[in-house]
């Protein structure tokens, strides 16, 4: 059964098109992340799922029920907001009970629900406080409690962690994930933070300018990004994009990387999609951890490629050091073992995993696979 199905959904204000046809579908119990830079339409989409914004065209189904013309309260959803949106004049208990009262849930049942939710979120001691007497993390917890009380088909989270400080954010992130695993709820979660997206999501939709650029599991997005935008957005530090010209030798794709001198790198079997690009400029995408000192490289691959490059800057992060070198005229970051990082001005050997290297069309920006 589909928990949420979004079909060809568009949103326009006159000639301004905010969403240009969104198609997404998730199953019961899945955790969907909508991620993208501000202004990409992710919050608008969430508001449209909630019924707080009109749909220009297309259809939205929640639990196999067309909800286009239903009011927010009839959609069987609950929402957690960035600003928590707790009613300041009511105690935590009343905040949770408010929606239940409107739905005419009997008083005894209300109390049961409130106690259950308070226990789940370990906030029994907060029930009689007003929101102003709570810390940021506690308010966040209450906001989640209010959503849980409803026991809806779908939970919507609108950047719920972005008002918290860094340490608390990581804690709450884990807590949300734990809650999801324990209760098996279906969640749509909006964020602009790619780390949050990767750690929480089971399905991630990367959005930009009103379109879904890629929809898949975190690992799919990381290993096989569909285009340059997704490749650059997911992962930190982000993927290196090295312009080069694709060549072919005995059915194997090769590129020339230059750091003082040309070095031929073979990438593996050339595919049918890649073949027309032979002799033409392409962009080689390689993640920093797949460009590392030979000792740290997973050398089980027989075709590990080695290149030499001169270090321009090193940035220690503790477990490993980010080494910046210059390849084909662009800054390229390699993730090396601290002892093998070298010093600026020194030449180091870097090994490149050709099975992980990706090729992109510089014009369409699509991955060539």
């Amino acid at each position: 059964m589909g928990a949420l199905s979004i079909r060809k959904v568009k949103k326009s204000y006159g000639d301004t098109h905010i969403l240009k046809g969104i198609d997404l579908e998730i199953e019961n119990g899945q955790f969907l992340i909508l991620v993208g830079p501000s202004g990409c339409g992710k919050s608008t989409l969430l508001n449209m799922i909630a019924g707080l914004d009109d749909i220009t065209s297309g259809e939205i189904y929640i639990a196999d029920r067309l909800v286009n013309n239903l009011s927010p309260k009839d959609r069987d959803i609950a929402m957690v907001f960035q600003s928590y949106a707790l009613y300041p004049n009511m105690t935590v208990r009343r905040n949770i009970a408010f929606g239940l009262e409107i739905r005419k849930v009997p008083k005894i049942e209300q109390d049961e629900i409130i106690n259950r939710v308070a226990k789940t979120l370990q906030m029994e001691h907060l029930l009689d406080r007003k929101p102003a007497q709570l810390s940021g993390g506690q308010r966040q917890r209450v906001a989640m409690g209010r959503a849980l009380a409803r026991n809806p088909a779908l939970f919507l989270f609108d950047e719920p962690l972005s008002n918290l400080d860094a340490k608390l954010r990581v804690e709450m992130r884990t807590e949300i994930k734990l809650l999801h695993q324990r209760l098996g709820t279906t969640i749509v979660y909006v964020t602009h933070d790619q780390i949050e997206a990767m750690t929480l999501g089971e399905r991630i939709a990367v959005m930009k300018e009103g379109e879904v650029r890629q929809f898949g599991t975190p690992q799919q997005l990381y290993d096989l990004p569909s285009d340059l935008y997704v490749a650059g957005f997911i992962g930190s530090p982000s993927m290196n994009f090295i312009p080069c010209v694709l060549g072919e030798a005995d059915g194997v794709g090769v590129v020339t990387l230059n750091n003082g001198k040309d070095q031929l790198i073979s990438l593996g079997q050339i595919s049918d999609i890649q073949r027309p690009f032979v002799g033409k400029p392409v962009i080689l995408g390689i993640r920093p951890e797949q460009l590392t000192d030979p000792a740290s490289a997973h050398s089980d691959h027989p075709n590990m490629q080695i290149l030499t490059a001169m270090v321009t800057i090193t940035e220690p992060t503790g477990p490993d050091t980010l080494v910046t070198v210059n390849i084909n005229g662009v800054k390229t970051v390699a993730r090396c073992h601290p002892r093998a990082a070298g010093v600026p001005g020194q030449s180091v050997q870097l090994s490149l995993d050709p099975t992980k290297a990706l090729l992109f069309d510089p014009v369409s920006e699509k991955r060539l696979a």
Partner: protein
Amino acid sequence: MADSYRQTTQAKLARMGIYAMLFLLALWFLAPLYVMLTTSFKSLDDIRSGNLLSLPQSFSLDAWKTAWDSACTGVECGGMKSYFGNSLKMMIPAVLISTLLGSLNGYVLSMWRFKGSDAFFMALLIGTFLPFQVVILPMAQVLGMLGLENSTGRLVLVHVIYGLQFTTLFFRNYYVTVPSDLVKAARIDGAGFFLFFFKILLPISIPTIMVCLIWQTTQIWNDFLFGVVFSSGDGQPITVALNNLVNTSTGVKQYNVDMAAAIIAALPTLLVYIVGGKFFVRGLTAGAVKG
């Protein structure tokens, strides 16, 4: 050591200077009240023989009694009491209605914006700059067309209309600081337009409600121009009655009665400020600091 010692004495002197200045200014501003109060407790002989600042030789409440129930305002000699009642009857509904409508207006203009709502708000803002005199003639025509005869009813309507732009402005400026997520959360909870307004928004607007009540009370109670133009005879508010009382010249000028009547007329607004002044300042700054 010597330096710091000198500095503290200097600071102390400066502070004392400031307090002395403030004390003198307070005396200066309180002087008229002092004169009014003492004069109202004096007898007419006392007033004629003594000087303006002297204390009454014999303390008497006669002037207050006269002012309240037997002083002449024009041809009638029933004192201020019925006019005091008129003002109350006019002020209370006018203040409550304008405050309630203002909060509803502010709610719509900040959280349920519609096409042209900004233009509508601008038009209301211009209304706050219009002086009383400008609206008198058109207002008289409208009242004529409505055929509203009752003085109190006419004044309530006029004051509600004239006060609405101020109350709307106060509430709207407070409500734009309320996060819009709050409305969204309430809509998902199933609360409609009025349920959200009465259950959540009004309870958190108490500082702004206080500002509106105080502002409107003083405006409406102290108004003279609308009162004198749109009411007649025994339906006049107290400000008009006070004017008539002071200007009625039959026989000896009774300064003590004039003073007592003036204090009676000013008493409610004085009281409102003493009781609600704290809320007034708090409410005016409530919009400035979020939360």
